[in-house]
Amino acid sequence: MKRLRELVRANSRNPNAIAYTVMAVGALAFPGIIQFANGGNGDYLVSLAADSGVYVLLAIGLNVVVGFAGLLDLGYAAFFAIGSYTYGMLASAQLISSPIHHAVHIPFWIALFIGMMVAAGAGALLGAPTLRLRGDYLAIVTLGFGEIVPRFFRNMKDWTSGVNGISALDVPTLPFWITGPWASTQLAIEHNFRFVSFNPTAWYVLIVTLIFVSVIGVNNLYRSRLGRAWMAVREDETAAAAMGVNTVNTKLLAFAIGASFSGFAGAFYGAKLSLVSPDSFTFIVSITILSMVVLGGMGNIPGAMIGALLLYSVLYYFLPAAPAQASALAHSLGMDWLNQASPNGWPGISEFIHRLQFIIFGLILVGIMLLRPQGLLPSRLRAQELKRGVHDESAVVTA
C-alpha cells in the first residue's frame, strides 16, 4: 500500500502515467457505464468502441515506424490490408473458389499470429529495397506500396473475389466465457463460447486485451536497446551509424514490427466485420492513421492512442451523428424551415451538415496542427533531450 502511494506521488505530474490510468480505467468502465446510461441498449456504442480499438492498434504500430524510427510511412493501410486478407483467406470458405479448391479454417488465435507474421514479412519486404532511400523518398515509396496493395487484392479476383471482398469469416471461439451486468445480462458462465456480432462486449474485451498486450510489448521495445537504436536513427542516422548502430537492421525491424501490429489489427477487423474488401484500405485510411499518430503526439505511445481515440470518435461517431443532431436542434428551436429543402439550393440542414463533414475534418487537422504542432501529448523525454539538454539541472529533476 505504501509503495502504491509512492508510485502515485511519483507519477502524479507525469502526463503519460495519467493518460494510461485514465485510458485503463475508462476502458474497464466503458461497457458498464454505456449500458447503464442507455438502459441496456448501448450495444451499438460498445461495438463502435471495439472498432475504434482497431485504429488504436494501428496507431500504436504506425507510431513505431513514424514516431520511434522516424520513417514516414504513407501506406500503412497496405499492411492492414495484408493482415485482414491473410485472415480472410485462412479463416473462411474463400479458398474453395480459388485455384486451390479447398477451404482453410485456421482458428482465430493462431491466424492472429499468422496475420502478424505475414504483415511483418511484408514490412520487411517493402523495407529491404528501400532502406538506402532517405526521408521523403522513403515516404513516397510507401505511398506507392499503399496504393498498389489494395488494387492488387481487388484485381486478383480468383483468390479474393475482387471488389466484393471476402465475406463470412470465421469468428474466434473460446472454451468458456464469463458474462455479467457489464453486458446487461445475468452473471453466468457460457461454455463453448463463440464471438458473435450481437455480443459486442466480447469483441470489446478481446480488442482491449490485444491493445493491453501490445502496449506492454511496445513499451518494452521502446526501453530496449532496439528502441534506443530507433531513436538514434531518427535523430541522426549518420551519427547513429558512427556509434555502432546497425541502421539497416534497425530500420528493417521498425518496418517489420510496425507492420506486425496492423496484422494483429487486420485479423481482428476481418473477424469482427466478417467482411474484407479492397475499399477498406485506401490511401485515406493510411492518412487517417498517420493523422492520429501526429495529432496525438509522435513517438509517444499514449499520445498515439489518444489521437486514435479522438480522431476515431470524431470521424465515426460525431460527424455521422451531426446531421441528425442538427436537424433535431433546429426542430426543437422552432426553426423547422431549416429542415426544408428549398428550391434555391438549400438542401435542408441535415444534408447541409452532412456535406460539411469534409470541411470539418480538414479544419480539425489544420487547427490542431497550428495550435499544437508537436501533438496533443508529445514525448516529454524527447522534448527534454532536444530542447533543454540532458545536462540541464531542471530537466533531470523533473524527469
Binding site: I148, L290, F358, I364
Partner: protein, 346 residues
Amino acid sequence: MIGALARMPSTLRTYGSSQVSNVIGLLIVAGALALTLQHVLQHDASFFFQILTIGLADGSIYALIALGYTMVYGIIELINFAHGDVFTLGAFISLALFPAFGIAEGKSGFGYVLPLLAVGVITMLLCGVINVAIERVAYRPLRHAPRLAPLITAIGMSSILEGAMYLWRGPFNLHYPDLLPATRLNIGGVSIGVKDLIVMTLAIVLVVAFTFFINLSKLGKAMRATAQDRDAAQLMGIDINRTIAATFFIGAMLAAAGGITYGLYISNVAFDLGFITGLIAFTAAVFGGIGNIPGAALGGLLIGLVRAFSDSYFDSSWTEVLIFGILIATLVFRPTGLLGMRVPEK
C-alpha cells in the same frame, strides 16, 4: 524513349546509384518496352498513333499539375497534398465563370477563343490567390515545426478544398462544356484528333513559358536560390516569404490551367477528382526527378503515355498498379528520377 533517357550521360547523375541496380532497372525497362512492342504490333498503326496522341494529351495535363508539385517540393520539401484539389478547383471555378462570358455547350468556334482565354486567366489568378492564402494560413506558421506537421495540414487543406467544392456543387459528376472541335486530321492515313493537339500545344506553351520564366527572371533565380539553401538565400537579401508565396502562386496557376484543360478534354469533373489525379501527377514529378522542372514535364508526358498504353493494350484495372509500380521502381533504381536532381537533405 525511357531506355534512351536512362542511357544519358552520367554527368546528369548528380547522385549515382550502383551499377548493378542500374542494369536491373534497364532490364526491367527493356522488358516492358519489348512487351509493349509485341502488343502494339498486334494492332494496326493508326490505333497506335491514336493511343499515342491520347497519351500525350493526357500526359501534358499531368505535366501541368506535376510542375506545381515539383516546385513546391523543391523549395520547401513539402508534398503538397492540396495541390491536386487546386487543380479541381480550377475546373470548378472556370465552370462557374463560363455563363458570365457567354460560353456554353455547343458554342465552339473562333469567336469563343477570347472569352475562353479570359476565363482561363481569371481562373488561374483566383487559384493562385487561393493557393497563396493556403500557404499563408497552413504552411508558413509551421515552417519551423516538426516535419510532419505541414504534411498533416496539407492533408487537412485538401479535405477542406474538397469539402468546399462538395458543398458548392454537390457530390455528382459535373458536365463541362465540350468546346474543343471534335474534328480529326488525317495525316498520311493516321487520324489524329484536333482536340488532342490543342491540349498538347496549350500545355507545352505553358510549361515552356514557365520554364523560361524560372530560368531567366529575377524571381525565378530567387526561387532556385531559396530551393538550394534557404538561409543563404535570405542572407543574400532574398525575401523568402515572397519567393515561397510566388512559387505557390505559379504552381496553382499551372494547376488551374491543367484543370481547365482537363475539363475541356474529358468534359467531366467531380469534387474528388484531384485526389487520384494529384497522386499520379506527383508520381510524374518523382519519375522525372523531383525538384526538376523539365523533369516534371517529361515525367508527366511519360506517365500519360504509360496510362494510355496500359489502358488500351493491357488491362486498365492494372494501370494504377503499374503507375505506382513505376514510382517505386524509379525510387529504388534511380532515386533522382530520370533527369536527376538531388534535393539536398536539410
